[in-house]
Amino acid sequence: MIWQLDICILTLIVICAFATIMVKDLLSAAIIFGAYSFLMCLLWTEMGSVDVAFTEASVGAGVSTVLFFAAVYQTTRRVGSRKSGRKLSKLVALMATLLTGLVLVIAEADFPGFADPFSPASLHVSPYYITQTLHDTNVPNIVTSVLADYRGYDTMFETAVIFTAGLAVIAILRSYTGVDRRKLPRRYIITEGYPDTIIRFIARQLVPFIQLFALYVVAHGHHSPGGGFQGGVILGASFILLAISYDFNIVKGIMSEKMNVLLGNIGVLVYAGIGFACLLLGANFLDYSILSQILPATDKVMARSHGMLGIETGVAIAVMAIIVSIYLNIVSLGKYDKGL
């Protein structure tokens, strides 16, 4: 870590945070928030957490910004009430904020020193993960082995949370009224989208390469930054790119509502199914080493590596489907008729 660089990035982050809540236009706020996320991504890289940086770059700076755009497109850019007032409530909020800050500052006195290799958080279980990951699982990326193997329960329920969030968005927004199916345009006929030939052509040519990269990120997550979550978000982002710049209806045709929910389900089921397969073979839930009995030419160590690849694939499928589903619902206000 270089502390001078840290200070520069942190200063910019605080400026962006102030700007994004002070600016009087929601579209500007969304763009500044994207810049804020990107600076965060630089900060994570600087602190050595490359996997978090990768996730922040694809989720925070990418998909979140697009979701804000979609929401602003469906509502209004206006900030600021027609009425004035609320001076008192703002004062109360400021007091509460300052009080919270004070409590946190007092609590900070008891924290271990920043970047201390012997702080309590770094001495409990993480030394075991760092020193034993190659021996146990043959996976050099410790983050992947902790995510998918040592703490596989957590990740399974996080995936379930994402699936639930996707279902919640459908439950809140989806409306079936007012759409006449006969009047909907046919699939694969270009009907709308941004009428710029260059942008449409480039976007269409770019999509297969983005998807190939996403598959690489999923499959190579054992050896380099990346994994199911990042790869799934990039796959979803490729469909969002297609929907924004090429044609909404094609994406709606490929990734229909039924398909999205089905894929989200399949992803979570692949994860839990591998866990249950371990259970059926006589080991603990999500103990992949037992899979060496059914996988050809693997020992117990490689079986854990392959088991991780299996559940990462499940995570990627679920995340991709849910990201696309959330975008399609928000941008069309649940009607699935037209996009940005």
Binding site: G48, T75, A93, V105, A165, L173, I326
Partner: protein, 127 residues
């Protein structure tokens, strides 16, 4: 550096948390509140990742850890950043996009019904 300044990451996380909390409490616009919630989330992520950082440590990927030339030397855990907070925060970021989607969906639902994103205008219509 003196110890008070050396903990700069902790001070910044407190500052970001206060900005997020203020936006959630005081802002009148619902989307601004959602942005405040996202800032609050990233502040917590800053805190967690800071606890996992180590001086002069590398990224948590074992060097020369794959292929045929795997080094059989003992691995010193102070050479690699603590991977556990990274794992927890990685999933937290992806869950945050899910919660963001739900929050924006609720905002859109409110706008569809009350034709406004401002809190006091909605309250006025409710009364």
């Amino acid at each position: 550096m003196p110890p008070l300044i050396a903990d700069y990451n902790y001070w910044i996380y407190i500052l970001l948390m206060m900005i997020g909390l203020y936006a959630m409490l005081a802002k009148n616009n619902l989307v601004k509140k959602v942005i405040g919630m996202s800032i609050f989330q990233t502040a917590i992520i800053v805190f967690y990742v800071s606890t996992g950082a180590k001086h002069k440590a590398s990224i948590p990927i074992i060097a020369h850890g794959h292929g045929h030339d795997v080094v059989e030397t003992a691995i010193d855990f102070t050479h690699y950043a603590n991977p556990l907070p990274h794992v927890l925060m990685l999933t937290a970021i992806v869950v945050s996009v899910g919660t963001l989607g739900v929050a924006l969906a609720i905002c859109l639902g409110i706008y569809k019904r009350y034709n406004s994103l401002e809190e006091d205008e909605i309250q006025e219509q409710l009364q």
